[in-house]
Amino acid sequence: MGMDLSYLEALMGGVAAEPTTSESAGGVWVVGVEGRLDDGLLRLVGKARVLADALGAYVYLLTNGSDREAAESTIRAGADQVLLAQGSPTLTDLVSFFEPRQPEVILFPRTRVGRILGAGLAQRLDGGLCGHAADLEVDPIYRRIVAHQPVLDDAARQRMTILAAPAMAIVDTAALPAAFNEPWRSGAVADAGADWVPAAEPRPITWPQPAVTLANAAVVVAGGRGLKTVEGFALARQLAQALGGVAGGDLTALDAGWIAEEELIGLTGARIAPKLLLALGLDGDTSLFMSIQDAGLIVAVQPDPAAPIVAAADYNIHADPADFARALLERLSRA
């Protein structure tokens, strides 16, 4: 695999040649074939752009989720060529689409369709695949794609060098940086020349979910003595609602009569494991700390820098909890 020098020339002041279909051997491909063009796909195009720049290759987007007009946004996001298709491809369709094109890299978003087609295509093309990539880079020496695969519930990421060609990855687009929106970029929109059959519509179904409680809430706003009054504590409840979470309190809140038994956080009450714990006017004690061990981000609003919670929280805001709650509520309602 040699460097694509024409690309370098273009970089050094030449005119970027509009890629034509005949030139489309190789290249970094993004496949978004779920009938929609969402922000995740645009972010993935951006990541493909970064890889293609390092490889000296073009970025191709194969999609059935766009018309010519909307395709412009993908060009601003980094695509050199957008190939528009109709219908939904089967795995065999994709195999026959890609086999003659000899892509260098193929990226799929990590949706159910992307997971099925991406892994299936890798197997059929004898490619190398990282089935769950949170990020991708190019190894500059060997010019190989290195995927960053989350392990142990994303406690760390493992480097996966993709050896076989094409190099493929199914990418968690939520983990990627924001999409480019660069109006000076140019690119071409073409017909994919693929005539795919529309997919059968699945039958939707819903089932009841367990109610959100302190124990399973993703966001918990916990209040304590520092909120001073029942009106102050009401702000914690409003914030919980605004953040889509649940309110709770410590023993001081229980003693003050602001919360019910079921709302108590602590060893006698609930153990919590939210992604965000916002602690308003909580001092923190051992019982509380032992029940919030599995909390993700802990943000404490506490005027006293010597309060035990300060050392346990990731971030501290030394302010009056009620004042801060009002300010935050106001911002959240604006957003």
Partner: protein
Amino acid sequence: MRIVVCMKQVYDPATTRISRSREEFDLRGAVKITNTPDKHALEAALRLRAAVGGEVIALSLGDAEADDVCREAIAMGADRALLISGPEVIGVTGRAVARALTAGVRYLDAVDLVLTGQVGLTDGTGSLAPRLAAELGWEVCLDAVRLAPMTDGQIEVTVACSPGVGEIVCLALPAVISVATGSERPRYAHPARIANAWAPGLVEVCSCTRLGLDAAALTADVEVGGLILPPERTRGQTIVGPTETAADELVGLLRTKRIL
């Protein structure tokens, strides 16, 4: 119905640590267990067998220790197991695993349904089911929470899309389905079955060569490198400034952390 359930041995994430200094897994004290998502797949298979009859076969690939997985599957209710083992399967990567398991499914013959777990604990990606389906040329469906057999050689699959919301799809058999961890809780191995799990003839061990796979089929498609660690959790940081700016900053922080 002949159902094959793919089951693997993994390091229990609860006992697997990460060494910050060496940027790799620290496996001292790590315990190997049967991948719990695979037990959900087995549970689904056992329920199907109870409904329509047939046979449930556990299929595993790994070193000699993976025998434990086969025995546990039998103790939970599988009829028998096939373990693909031998020096050539040590450290094989996803593409080769799918090829070897496909050879296993073909060897088992007349298989109607292959079930897999949703994902491998610790370092899995959940790509096995679609890889197998591609190799076998069968239909595939991911994240099933419920399987209901139908009379006309089809299976009705309920798939979870997001909490409380799903779809029902019908697949023609033979098919490959990955079973979500939100499905029925796997049963415990039963003492009487545990006592009989080591009876001779229940676990067949088979090398890749016997399955007709050569070394070329097993070459690695990826190479596993070191770990990238997130910055260490630093507690006790302060967001300075008056209430108003601190609130702005927090909103920004929650946005970057994707909580908002």
